[in-house]
Symmetry: C2
Subunit: 408 residues, 2 copies
């Protein structure tokens, strides 16, 4: 059966002319199997970094509108080269920038969100047998300025185009074989998953499994677009991310870990209604994503408010907090970047009691002290000391027997 597939390839997959040929092999094979393909590409390997260095050579915090205009050239180079390579093989291919297709975003330069994708042009080309090769990671805002979606945004472009075209599947090619129960570099027993649900993938993405960009998974989940994560470096079916309400799932699907966050604490804030919003509002207004949030009331009616952000945002967040705390009559700000977050994720934990205590017991058995805890319906996260991360991941992988495929 002919399928319409969106195939997205990341920076390592198109790092040089040789890699571009390998990717062209994959595309050509898919075409020869009778499918229609739309290709979405990231910038070549080091290209984005080269461009960022150029910008930084001018100013450490360059104007974001111009930054976007600059770095968006990276994908334009990839798509033009790929269209050349496909053309050389007598496949009809045409490169398109997001600008040419009119992929509309909001105006948040550097981390824009896609708001509209027009597909008339693409459908016309597909009907002519052309393979459109599209720049990921970018778009244009209402004023006609070039925007970028932020690092990893190419996944979102792939999904957004797949959704707009009502494609059968969005295939995200990367340098790993798919989604694993945990990071194989940390835990040698990690196992490749055949299938995972959107919400589990979301929790894994948001907790450090960097295979898929969080926003792309959200977008796909919202529009029920199946994503397949697979490797451009090796054969294999990868991992299918999709919604299947009736599927029997093991209790725990995977364990994620991340050590690139910093923990910020505001001490002794008066415990009044709206204080959380007052603290976090200015932080998110500055475009800083907040991850884990924990608030605890003390006996003296003040509260300690703690949250984590990406380490690169820590010092700006600290500055903002200082002002906020002053205006609220709060106390000092503490910043700690010597932390890691480890999460167990699994849809099966819904309605299963005892997962949390089993997790905490395992950590206790390995003398790992817990600094913060947050839970959701399908995830339990703990923040621990950074150097204990690997130990924690392996202990939990064993405890929940993730090396065994309990599906089969």
């Amino acid at each position: 059966m002919e399928k319409l597939l969106v195939q997205k390839f990341g920076g390592t997959s198109v790092a040089d002319a040789g890699r571009i040929e390998v990717v062209a092999d994959i595309i050509a094979k898919t075409i020869s199997e009778g499918h229609k393909v739309v290709v979405v590409l990231s910038a070549m390997g080091e290209e984005t970094d080269r461009l960022i260095d150029l910008a930084k050579s001018i100013q450490t915090e360059p104007n974001l509108r111009e930054y976007d205009a600059l770095v968006s050239t990276g994908e334009q180079i990839s798509v033009a080269l790929m269209a050349m390579v496909l053309g050389k093989r007598n496949l009809k291919a045409k490169s398109y920038t997001a600008y040419q297709l009119g992929i509309k975003t909001n105006k948040m330069h550097g981390r824009a969100r896609i708001v509209d994708v027009k597909v008339e042009k693409l459908i016309k080309q597909l009907d002519k047998g052309v393979i459109p090769v599209i720049t990921g990671f970018q778009g244009m805002n209402e004023e006609g300025d070039i925007t970028t979606l932020g690092r990893g945004g190419s996944d979102t472009t792939g999904v957004a185009i797949a959704v707009a075209l009502q494609a059968d599947e969005c295939q995200i090619y990367t340098d790993v074989d798919g989604v694993f129960t945990t990071d194989p570099r940390i835990c040698p027993k990690a196992r490749l998953l055949d299938q995972i649900s959107f919400d589990e993938m979301l929790e894994l993405s948001s907790t450090g499994a960097e295979v898929l960009q969080l926003r792309a998974v959200e977008y796909a989940s919202k529009h029920d677009m199946p994503i397949r994560v697979l490797s451009s470096f090796s054969e294999g079916e990868g991992t299918l991310v999709e919604e299947k309400e009736d599927m029997e799932r093991p209790v725990i699907s995977g364990i994620s870990s991340i050590d690139t966050e910093a923990k910020l604490t505001v001490r002794g804030v008066p415990d009044l209604p709206g204080v959380a919003a007052k603290i976090l509002g200015p932080v998110s207004d500055a475009g800083i994503d907040v991850d884990v949030i924990v608030q605890n009331i003390s006996a003296d009616n003040t509260t300690d408010f703690t949250f984590t952000v990406d380490q690169t945002d820590a010092s700006s967040a600290e500055e903002i907090l200082k002002e906020t705390s002053e205006s609220l009559g709060g106390g000092s700000i503490e910043v700690d970047d010597n932390i890691a977050k480890v999460s167990v994720v699994g849809r099966g934990m819904r309605g299963q009691s005892g997962i949390a205590s089993k997790m905490f017991q395992a950590l206790a058995d390995h003398e790992i002290n817990i600094l913060m805890i947050t839970t959701s319906e399908i995830k339990i996260s703990v923040v621990i000391q950074k150097d204990l991360m690997e130990k924690a991941v392996n202990a939990l992988h064993d405890t929940f027997q993730l090396d065994k495929n309990l599906d089969t």
Copy 2:
């Protein structure tokens, strides 16, 4: 008096971050003098070559649509960096690609011609005190594909924007001080001209003075837009290229020379009406520019047809000629790239007799044999043996006393 100026800077002028700062100095100075400025940039120094190498690593003759999409990223990088640098100095600046402005061209990829420039967006920005920084060398065709104007096309972009905006002057910054009586690298006595007319500049451009791109001069002449050629590496007023019917001009303004052409001859073509068109038609259909053309009828009613093209086009032109000659019942094709063309240019030679014979005598005195001669109202060109070019230029520069400013 406040002027509206278009300032165009070439690749060597923006070769690196340091050079971009120097150019920003020039722009800032112009702004501080109360003028409005629109900036047009080429790609940074070696960037275009880097991109061409990338394309060639895939295919020696890459798809031209994709080639344009690829190389057009070069200017996009320059303009974004320049806007950043200007912003750093608290000047309001915004980069624009030709695509964003809707600079329309015909569909001739790799050597497109500008057909329309919309300026509403630019005027709006200028009114807000913004300095628009625009990618030279490129545009978009009717289908919305990215096109490039061919090497040197940034000059044309500058002039086209100046014309559309009804600017007061289009300033072309380059790495030379202006237009000289002849190439100073060949003739040490060469003198910088304060002023030159469009038609003289046209003749100089078309005969190898590479200061300004031919098409840019044509465009400016047609729309009566003054061009000033000056250096971004040194102070000075440069050379003003403009129309001034009443100006007193010396007989000869300058001498140009070029040794990058090849001479092609078709022997023994039947001398019938339309034969020139039959020979040159297929050549120009292939997008090859023909320069000097000479035709001479032999006693036997056949004709020898000779013309010059750029050396890079010589082998394609030869192939085309072989077919044409066969179909016309003509003879063999001869190709000679061991030639140079030397021209004396001057509006003052109109109505002056004896310039040609003075020129030929000077060459004869230096034992330089003439292979071809063509003349126009304001130019006499000879094709000679390549290794005699320097000798010829110096001899003619002396003969016409170009080291002396006879204006003053």
